[in-house]
Structure formats: C-alpha cells, structure tokens
Amino acid sequence: MSNTTSATPSAPLRRTRGFAGAVSPWWILLAGAFLVFFFVAPIANNLLNTDNLATLAERNPPSFYYKKLLTDAYYLKIVGVTVALSVGVTLICVLVGYPVALYLVRYAGRWSGLVIFLLIAPLLTSIIMRTFGWRVIFARRGILNDFLLSIDMLERPIMFLNGPGSVVVGLVHVLVPFMVLSIASVLRSIDPQIEESARILGANRFQTFLRVTFPLSLDGIGTGFIIVFLLANGSFVTLLLLGGGELRTLPLLIYQQFTISRDFQFAAAMSNVLLAIAVGCLYLQLRLIRRKGVKG
C-alpha cells in the first residue's frame, strides 16, 4: 500500500503567517520615529553634552567615568549586584507567581475576574505608599517583630529594614502581578485535554505538571521574565525606601548623582551601562523564547 506519501517531509513553506496586505510595515514608522526622536535622541544628546550643573566638582572626560565603572572593583560589584538583584527577584517572582497563575487558570472559575482584580489592585496605589506599608510591617517595632516577639520566636526585634531582604520582598510585591498575568495568559491557551492525555498515559499529577504543563508554559514565564527583569533593573524607589541605601544598585547611584552629587556625566555613564545590560538581556531572552517556540 501507500508507502511513499510519508517519504516527503512537509517543508515549512509559509514562513510568515498572514498576508502582507492587512498591515503595512510602514505603520511602525510613527512609533519608531517618536522613540528615536524623543527617547534615543535626548539620551544621546545628554550623553554627548552634559554640563555639570550646580556642582562645584571638577569636570572629567566621559572616558574617565566609564573607566571607573568598568575597572573599579567597587563599581563592578555594583553592576554585579544590580544584575543579581534583578535576576533573583525575577526568579522569586516565577516561584511565587506560578501557583497563582495556575490557580487563576485552572481552578478560579467564576472567581477569576476577582483574582485578576486583586492582582491589579496593588498596581493602582502609589508606589511610595505601598512601600510605606512595608515599612510599617518591617519596622523594628513593627507588626512583624511584634508578632514574632509575642510568640517568643525572637528575644529582641530584628532590623528587617535596610537590608537586602526587605528590598527583595518589596520588589517581589511590586512585580509579581506582572509575572502572574504573563504566565496565566499562556497557561490559558494550553488545552486541558493535553494534561488529561498525560494522566491517562500514566503520568501522576506531579509528572504531568513537570513534563507537560510546565514546559508548555515556558513562553509565559519567558515574557514575564523579561518584563519583571526590566522593571527590577530600573527601580530605585523601593531600594531607596526599603533598602535604606544598604543595597546599592546602578539606579540608586544614578538617583544619588541627580539629587546630591549632581555629577550628571557620571549619572549618564551609569545609565548607559544600565541600558546596555538591560537591552542585552532583553535581546537574549527574546531570542531564547523565540527558539522555544513563541510565535512571531
């Protein structure tokens, strides 16, 4: 019988789905031009000629600052801490957020609107006040210490504030909704029948999750990773208010340059290093996700 039809593997003929006529490639121009003009140009302009406004310090050529940033062990460490904090916070967001996304998609049912509402609600309060809420909780005589003291877990209050711990908690609090919604939107597109087939094929619940559900949801984790990473990478309000300056990252130092040292050349150099890190990571992640099969 037929033994030849399967011999020709079907080639990926249609590389781009959809026809070119519905959307013009030129539609990119408005946003492209807007960002080139109002984002790239100002920053380039700023980099090329920043005067040291309102500081009495001496001026240096830009290379001085880049050299300092990329050779001085202290600043190298700051760069490292910046990346480590962003990656760490992002990973914690994945761990904390995944079960929530799973619940939202698989179990929440008619409550899903409420769950999404509760997820988004924190984004609607001013970040200053949200962070202040954490300060109340973490304070030396705050809720958490009171509680731990009352159940005799502690003998004297712990300084939760002004350390990496409170910063990480604060950042996760601000960013985890973004992760949950990214993962949920992909989980939702996974047909539950695929999971059922895996169960029928003998996989237990855990194996099904590990071998089927989780790999299929990698796209969502990827998108969530990008956005959380970028937001963590640029945040300083949380670091300022919960870290007490203890945990130093590039955005925090940039803020410091603006408000006290007013050495804008150094600030510009730091922000360019930060931008380079962010764009590099972003591009890398987009490539990785693309390979895993997110549709273009």
């Binding site: 003009f37 140009a41 100002p42 380039a44 302009n45 090329l48 000629n49 005067d51 406004l53 309102a54 500081t55 009495l56 310090a57 001496e58 202290y74 300060r135 109340v136 304070a139 030396r140 005589r141 705050g142 300084m159 504030l161 002004n162 300022l240 208010l241 007490g244 300056g245 203890e246 130093r248 130092l253 803020y255 410091q256 603006f258 408000t259 006290i260 040292s261 007013r262 050495d263 150094f266």
Partner: protein
C-alpha cells in the same frame, strides 16, 4: 524660544518653530507674574501665606508657588535659561554657589533688595554674596523621652553611648541633600579634621555603622516616623522641625542643643536671570521683618533679618546662629561627589 543650542539637539531645535506653531505653545504669561519655589507641605503653606499672598497684595501680580526640590528647579532653569519657567529658587548654600557660578542667577544687592541691609554679613558671606540666606536651622539632637531617660549633652556623648548600644540612633542617609555638610563636614570638624581631611568623620561613622545601632532617615518626615514608630530612639535632626512636631502634641519628643555646638545650615532665595523685574519686590518681601516672622512662626526656624523679634515661644527654641558651627559651603560643594563615593564604598548608608 530656541536660542539655546545644545549639540545634536541644536539641529533639531529648528523643528521647534514648527512644533510650537502646531501646538500653539507659548511661554507668554502675564508679563509680571512670577513663579517662585517651595518645598512641600508646611513649607508651601508658609511661603504661600507669608510671601506669595503678600506679593499679590502689594503688586497686583501673581506669585505662583511651585512645589518640588532644588534638583528639579535648577534643571528646569538650566534647560531654559533664556525664558526660565521659574523666577525665584529656594536652595541651600552649595546649590546657590554652583548655580551662581553657572550664571543662572541675577546678582542680588541692597539696591534691588533694600531689606538686605538688615541682614548680618554672616548670612551674606554664607552664600559668598550671592544674595543672602533668609532662614537657618541647627542640626541638633532629638530623642524619645520614653526610651531615653538620660539624654546626651554633646554630639560626642551621643556617639559614645550609641557605640555602647544604649539606643538605636538615626542619622540622615547620605542620599539626603544636606548630609555632606551636617554629617561629613560636621563630624570631621568635631573630631579634629577639616574640609580637606574628613578621615575623622569616616572613622566615627564606620564605628557607628559596625556597632549595628545606627539606622538612616531619608527625609525630614522619615525621621519623625522612625521616632513615632519606635524604629529609632534618638537621632540628629533640625531644631525647627522638631519643635513644630512637639507642638502638634508629641511632647514625648525631647530636644537637646549639643554643647559641642550644632551644625547650622541656611537656605537662600535667589532671582533667576531673565525674570520679570517684579521678582525684586518678592525678594524684598522675603527679607522683610513682618513676613519673615510669619514664616518663622510656621517653620520654627531662625530667620535672618536682625529686626525680626521672635514670639516668646520661639525665643527659647531658636538656636542663636553665633552659637553654631558653619562649614565652608564652596569647599563642601567641591568635595561632595568624592565624599559620597567614599561614603558609598566605606559606610554604605
């Protein structure tokens, strides 16, 4: 509108004409109305009530009060030097010197602000003659009477007893704008150094930091919160703000003017170049005894016209300026970037 050219932006600047035409945008306001600045909260109330309203009343022009911080105002003025969006800037000494050096300020003399004649030379020298300071505060010790029964009498005692672990001390974070003066210079001066040798200050702060008994406050209200919530037991703070807080019913807060002399800093107001002539009227009001005393009642800070007589309540509270220490603003400003970098590397807060 487009006279200023800044490299690549200069080329694009030509587009501004088109853009301005399209958007109908214009800076033109009533010619003699001015924009003056203020910090937020109680500052804004004082400036509006004591100065802006007085200005409106006397001249018929409007003084719009812009809330914010010097970092923002100076940037805005430097970006638009020919048609400044702000006409009077409130700022501390190093900022005044830096902005004056850039030529952002109009020279301020007794000719255009006659009331300057009653301001002691000391407050004119503090900003190297670019006008004068109009108020000043002393950086004193404030403590929680419930947890600190026997407050220290000097700054040095405060340090020693913090190191012994008697309380949790809160000090301004290095990100607070005036920290270079009150922390780095203030402690260097106290412990035998000077503006060119701040090692003694860094030694003290390293010890405090290592003791684990010191935390940082990032704004003047942050301090009050830390004290209210019990986060800190004692700290260094501005005298006027401490008294204002006590007056609001918080009599658990105590104030000590250290015997080894508090550091004093002062705040100046200056006229931005290319402003309408009415700014001089405004500034003259700022330095006039009546409005100044009004301002002082709000903030409980010392003011600089020697003709001002303080109310009985304030009389005992305001630290006389000649019983304080003041640092060399220019040298401090010059060293700020280096100090902050060193602080970042060695202390951390």
């Amino acid at each position: 509108m487009t006279r200023q050219t800044r490299g690549p932006a200069g080329q694009t600047a030509r587009l501004s004409v088109v853009l301005a035409a399209v958007t109908g945008f214009s800076f033109a306001a009533a010619a003699q109305d001015i924009t003056v600045t203020s910090y937020g909260g109680i500052w804004e109330e004082a400036i509006t009530e004591c100065y802006a309203k007085e200005f409106n009343k006397r001249t018929g022009y409007k003084a719009n009060v812009l809330i914010g911080s010097p970092a923002q105002w100076l940037s805005q003025v430097e970006a638009n030097p020919d048609d400044p969006p702000i006409n009077v800037i409130v700022s501390t000494q190093p900022n005044v010197l830096a902005a004056a050096e850039k030529g952002l300020y109009e020279p301020m003399t007794e000719e255009n602000v006659p009331n300057l004649k009653d301001v002691p030379q000391f407050f004119k020298d503090a900003v190297e003659g670019h006008g004068a300071c109009f108020d000043y505060g002393a950086f004193i010790i404030a403590y929680n009477k419930d947890t600190v029964k026997n407050p220290p009498k000097t700054t040095k005692e405060l340090v020693e007893r913090t190191l012994k672990g008697e309380w949790v001390l809160t000090m301004p974070s290095i990100s607070y704008a005036i920290s270079p003066t009150v922390l780095v210079w203030g402690f260097a001066d106290l412990y035998g150094g000077d503006v060119n040798n701040v090692d003694p200050a860094f030694d003290v702060f390293k010890q405090l930091k290592d003791s684990g008994n010191m935390i940082a406050w990032s704004s003047v209200t942050d301090f009050l919160n830390q004290m209210s919530t019990g986060e800190a037991d004692i700290g260094m703070y501005w005298d006027g703000r401490a008294w204002a807080f006590i007056d609001k019913g918080n009599d658990w807060l105590g104030v000590v003017a250290p015997e080894d002399e508090a550091v004093m800093t002062c705040v100046a107001m200056n006229a931005v170049k290319n402003s309408p002539p009415s700014v001089w009227e405004y500034l003259n009001i700022v330095f006039e005894p009546g409005p100044m005393s009004c301002f002082s009642d709000y903030l409980q800070y010392g003011v600089t016209n020697k003709l001002v007589t303080y109310s009985d309540k304030l009389k005992n509270r305001i630290t006389p300026w000649d019983a304080t220490r003041t640092g060399p603003a220019r040298e401090i400003g010059k060293n700020t970037a280096a100090w902050i970098e060193r602080w970042n590397k060695e202390i951390g807060h």
